[in-house]
C-alpha cells in the first residue's frame, strides 16, 4: 500500500464523520431508527480505515512522515516581511496514526453504547449528529499539519463539546455547564491564539515542519529565547483549557451534566486528550523553562484532582476529578521529558477511562430505570451512597469496572500499570537529572490516592448491600449494546495489547513507534540531555515499579479496610481530617473562588458599566435630547414670534399703507388732477434750486 492510499484513507476518516453529521442534522428525524445506524456505521468504517493505516504505517513505514498539503492562501512576496503563504494539509506520523485509532475506536464504541443509553431520547438523531461533528473536529486536530487548522478544529471541538454537554439544555445545570465549559475553554484558547500569532509573525507560516526547521537553524521569535518560552507557554494555555489543567480545570466536573457516553467520549478519552496531544505535537519547540512550567502545572493538577476525588459522592464527579488528575499526570510526564510515557498514558487512559465512564453510564442507566419503576424522583441515581451491592445484579458491568479500576490504579497486568510505571520512572529520572525531587514524591502520592479513591468508588458502588433493599430487584444488567463496548474496553485495558512483557512497556511496539522527538531549541543541548535522561529513567525503572506497586497496593488495602471490611469508620476519618475534608469535599473552593473573583469581578464590572451606561451615556443622550428639545422649542418660538411677526407685520404694514392709499383712489378724474397738480407744485419747489 502506497503513501497516497494512506493519505486518501486519512481524508476519508476525516470527512466521513462530517458527512454523517450533515446527513443526520438535516434528515435525521426522517431516517429509519433516526439514523443512528448511519452514524455508528460511519464510525465503524473510520475505525477500520484507521486500523489499516496504523498497521500499514507501523509495519511498512515506521520512520516516515507523510504530508499532503496544498496552498490555501498565497500572499506572495509581501514587502518588508517576505513570502507568506498559508498551507492546509494533513500529516501522518506515528503519533497521529495512533491517535487516529484511539479517537475512532472510542468514538465508535461510544456510538454503540449510546444506541442503548440514549434510547427514547427527545433529540436522539441530533445527539448522534453532534457525536459525528465532534469526531470530525477531533480527527481534524489529530491529522492536521499546521497551527491554523489545529486552531480551527480546536474551536470546533469546543463547539461540539458545548453542544453535547448542553444536550439536555432544558436542565438549567446542563446549559450552565455547557456555557461554563465553552467560556473556560475560550480563556485557554485566547492564550493559544496569541502563542500561535507569535509563531506566525516570526516564521510567516503555520506549518509545523517549516517552523521546526526554522527554529532548528536558529531563527527564534524577536531574537530572544524568552519569546520562544512565552510562545510555548501560551500554546500550552490552549492545553490548559482543553485538558482541564489547573487553574482552568473547573469546567470538566460540571461537564458531567452531559449524557454519560458523551462524558466517556469527550471528557475522558478524546477532547481532553487534545491538550496533551498538542503538547506532544509542539514538544520540539518547547524550551526548558516552558517544559518546567508544564511539569508543575501538570503536577498541581494531578494532586488537586486526586485530593478532590477522594471525598466526592457523585459517581461521575469522582471519575471527572480522576480524569483531571490523570490528565495532569500526562501533562507532567510530557513536561519532564518522559514523552513516550505521557503519550502512552494518554492511549491507555483513553480506553480504561472511557470504559469507566461507560460503566458508570451502565450503572446510572440501571439505577435510573429502577428508580423510575418505583416513581422515585427524589433519589439521585448518580450518588454512590444510594448504590452498593450491584455486583450480583450487574456482573458484566462489575467485572469490566473492576478491570478498569485495577488499570487506573496501576496494578500489574493492566495497561495502566505499564504507562503509569513509565511516568513514575520518568519523574524519578527527571528528579535525578534536575534535582526537582518534589515531582516524583507527589507523583507517587497521587498514584496512591488514585488507587484509594477508585477502589472506594468501586466498593461503595458494587460491594456490600444495596442502600435500599426495596428496589434491589428492579436493577438489571444493561443490554448487549452497552455491555459489549465495556468488554472491548476491558480487553484493551490489559497489558498484552501494548507489550508482551507485563512489567515493562519499553520492549513493546508502542515504544518502538513513538520516540521522544529531539528538541529544536538551540539552547537545549539535546542529544546529551536526552541520553542522560534516558539513562536516569533506566536506572530508576525498577525502583519506580516496586514503589508504584507498593503504593497502589497500600491505597487499595486502605480502601478495602475502610469501606469493605469497615475496620475503620469512614465518618471517624472524616472527623479526624476535619477542615481538610471540607476543603476536599468542596473541591478546594475553586468554584467559589472563581465566583467571587472572576464571576463576581465580571458581574461587578458589568454592573459598573450598566451604571455607566444608565447614568452617563443615557445622561448624555437624554441631555442632548433635552437640549435639542429646548433648542427646537426656542427656534419654534422664534419662528412663531419673530419670523412670523415680521411676515405678518409686513402684511399688516402693506395693508395699512393700502388702507391709506385707497383713500386717494377715488375714481374721480378731477381729484387725480388735483393730486397731479399738487405734486407738480411740490416737485417744482423741491427741484427749484437745481
Amino acid at each position: 500500500m502506497t503513501s497516497d492510499t494512506l493519505i486518501q484513507f486519512a481524508l476519508y476518516i476525516l470527512f466521513l464523520p462530517l458527512l454523517g453529521f450533515l446527513l443526520l442534522i438535516f434528515f435525521g428525524k426522517r431516517l429509519p431508527r433516526q439514523g443512528d445506524w448511519i452514524a455508528t456505521g460511519i464510525l465503524g468504517v473510520t475505525l477500520l480505515l484507521s486500523l489499516i493505516i496504523l498497521f500499514v504505517k507501523l509495519l511498512s513505514y515506521p520512520a516516515e512522515t507523510f504530508i499532503s498539503q496544498f496552498t490555501w492562501i498565497d500572499f506572495g512576496d509581501v514587502p518588508f516581511i517576505g513570502p507568506i503563504s498559508v498551507e492546509l494539509g494533513i500529516m501522518l506520523d506515528n503519533l497521529s496514526v495512533i491517535m487516529l485509532v484511539v479517537v475512532t475506536l472510542v468514538s465508535f464504541l461510544v456510538h454503540v453504547f449510546s444506541i442503548g443509553y440514549m434510547q427514547g431520547d427527545v433529540r436522539y438523531s441530533r445527539y448522534f449528529a453532534y457525536l459525528g461533528l465532534f469526531s470530525f473536529s477531533m480527527l481534524g486536530i489529530v491529522i492536521t499539519h499546521n497551527f491554523l487548522m489545529m486552531y480551527i478544529f480546536w474551536e470546533l471541538v469546543g463547539l461540539s463539546s458545548y453542544l453535547l454537554i448542553g444536550h439536555w439544555y432544558e436542565k438549567k445545570t446542563a446549559s450552565d455547564a455547557a456555557k461554563k465549559a465553552f467560556i473556560v475553554n475560550r480563556i485557554g484558547d485566547a492564550g493559544m491564539f496569541v502563542g500561535i500569532m507569535i509563531i506566525f509573525v516570526t516564521f510567516s507560516t503555520f506549518t509545523f515542519e517549516k517552523i521546526f526547521d526554522s527554529i532548528a537553524v536558529g531563527t527564534i521569535p524577536f531574537g530572544s529565547e524568552a519569546w520562544l518560552t512565552a510562545a510555548g507557554i501560551l500554546i500550552f494555555c490552549g492545553a490548559i483549557g482543553k485538558s482541564a489543567q489547573f487553574p482552568l480545570h473547573t469546567w470538566l466536573p460540571d461537564a458531567m451534566e452531559g449524557p454519560t457516553p458523551v462524558s466517556a467520549l469527550i471528557h475522558a478519552a478524546t477532547m481532553v486528550a487534545a491538550g496533551v496531544y498538542l503538547i506532544a505535537r509542539t514538544f520540539t519547540i518547547m524550551t526548558g523553562d516552558a517544559l518546567m512550567v508544564i511539569t508543575y502545572i501538570g503536577l498541581i493538577t494531578a494532586i488537586i484532582g486526586a485530593v478532590i476525588a477522594i471525598t466526592q459522592f457523585d459517581i461521575k464527579k469522582v471519575l471527572a476529578y480522576s480524569t483531571i488528575s490523570q490528565l495532569g499526570y500526562m501533562v507532567m510526564a510530557l513536561g519532564t521529558g518522559a514523552f513516550t510515557a505521557g503519550f502512552f498514558h494518554l492511549v491507555t487512559h483513553a480506553s480504561f477511562k472511557a470504559g469507566l465512564f461507560l460503566g458508570s453510564g451502565s450503572v446510572i442507566h440501571a439505577m435510573h430505570e429502577a428508580l423510575h419503576k418505583k416513581h422515585d424522583h427524589q433519589t439521585d441515581p448518580q450518588d454512590i451512597r444510594n448504590m452498593g451491592g450491584l455486583k450480583k445484579k450487574m456482573p458484566v458491568t462489575y467485572l469490566t469496572f473492576l478491570i478498569f479500576t485495577l488499570a487506573i490504579s496501576g496494578v500489574p497486568f493492566t495497561s495502566g500499570f505499564l504507562s503509569k510505571d513509565e511516568i513514575l520512572a520518568g519523574t524519578l529520572g527527571f528528579a535525578s537529572v534536575t534535582g526537582h525531587y518534589l515531582v516524583p514524591v507527589l507523583a507517587f502520592l497521587v498514584a496512591g490516592l488514585t488507587a484509594f479513591y477508585m477502589f472506594r468508588l468501586l466498593i461503595l458502588t458494587f460491594h456490600g448491600d444495596h442502600a435500599d433493599s426495596s428496589r434491589e430487584n428492579d436493577i438489571h444488567e444493561s443490554p448487549g449494546v452497552m455491555t459489549i463496548p465495556l468488554i472491548i474496553f476491558a480487553a484493551l485495558s490489559l497489558w498484552f495489547f501494548y507489550s508482551f512483557n507485563p512489567f515493562g512497556a519499553s520492549s513493546g511496539w508502542f515504544y518502538a513507534a513513538i520516540e521522544r522527538p529531539m528538541s529544536v531549541v538551540p539552547s537545549v543541548v539535546q542529544p546529551v540531555a536526552a541520553e542522560v535522561f534516558k539513562d536516569a529513567v533506566h536506572h530508576a525503572h525498577t525502583l519506580a515499579m516496586v514503589l508504584s506497586i507498593l503504593i497502589a497496593g497500600l491505597g487499595i488495602l486502605f480502601a478495602f479496610v475502610v469501606y469493605h471490611f469497615r475496620r475503620v469508620d469512614a465518618d471517624r476519618l472524616k472527623n479526624a481530617a476535619g477542615p481538610l475534608y471540607d476543603f476536599s469535599y468542596n473541591k478546594l473552593y475553586f468554584d467559589e473562588m472563581y465566583d467571587r473573583s472572576v464571576v463576581g469581578g465580571t458581574m461587578g464590572l458589568s454592573n459598573l458599566s450598566k451604571w455607566f451606561d444608565d447614568t452617563i451615556i443615557d445622561g448624555i443622550v437624554n441631555g442632548s435630547a433635552a437640549i435639542t428639545r429646548w433648542w427646537s422649542a426656542f427656534t419654534g418660538r422664534f419662528d412663531n414670534v419673530v419670523i412670523d411677526g415680521l411676515v405678518n407685520f409686513s402684511a399688516y404694514f402693506t395693508g395699512f399703507i393700502g388702507l391709506i392709499l385707497r383713500k386717494f383712489q377715488t375714481g374721480k378724474v378731477q381729484t387725480y388732477i388735483v393730486f397731479v397738480i399738487f405734486s407738480i407744485i411740490v416737485f417744482f419747489f423741491i427741484f427749484r434750486t437745481l
Binding site: 383712489q665 377715488t666 375714481g667 374721480k668 378724474v669 378731477q670 388732477i673 388735483v674 397738480i677
Partner: protein
C-alpha cells in the same frame, strides 16, 4: 400836440413779457379751475381748451420778447391742431360715456375706481 391825461403807469405804458405771462397764468388758472370744479364733461373740456390756449399765449410771448431760438409759432399752430383733434376725440368719448351712463356728469362716472 400831445395829450397827457394822466401819467400812464409804467407797467401799462409799455406792455412787455410779464403782462402776457400774467394773462397766461390767469387764463391757466381759470382753465384749471374749470377742469377741477366743473361737473359737466363739456365744461371740463372747455377748461382744457383754456389751458392749451394759455400755453399758446406763453409760446407766442416768449417768441416775441426773447431771442430764444424757438419756433414758437409753429408749436402754437401745432397745439391748436392738437386741441382740435383732442376735442374731437374727447367729444366722441363723451358721447360714448353718455350712451353708457346716461349722464355726462364726471362725479357719477367713477368706474375707474373699481
Amino acid at each position: 400836440m400831445t395829450y397827457c391825461i394822466a401819467q400812464i403807469p409804467q407797467w401799462l405804458a409799455e406792455p412787455g413779457l410779464t403782462h402776457f405771462l400774467v394773462i397766461s397764468a390767469i387764463l391757466f388758472s381759470l382753465g384749471l379751475l374749470a377742469v377741477l370744479t366743473r361737473r359737466n364733461v363739456i365744461m371740463v373740456l372747455m377748461g382744457i381748451e383754456l389751458l392749451l390756449n394759455s400755453a399758446n399765449i406763453n409760446f407766442i410771448a416768449f417768441a416775441r420778447y426773447t431771442t430764444l431760438a424757438l419756433d414758437a409759432h409753429l408749436i402754437a399752430l401745432f397745439v391748436i391742431i392738437l386741441a382740435a383733434a383732442e376735442a374731437a376725440i374727447a367729444l366722441a368719448i363723451v358721447l360714448n360715456i353718455y350712451q353708457q351712463f346716461s349722464t355726462v356728469n364726471v362725479d357719477e362716472v367713477s368706474t375707474l375706481r373699481e
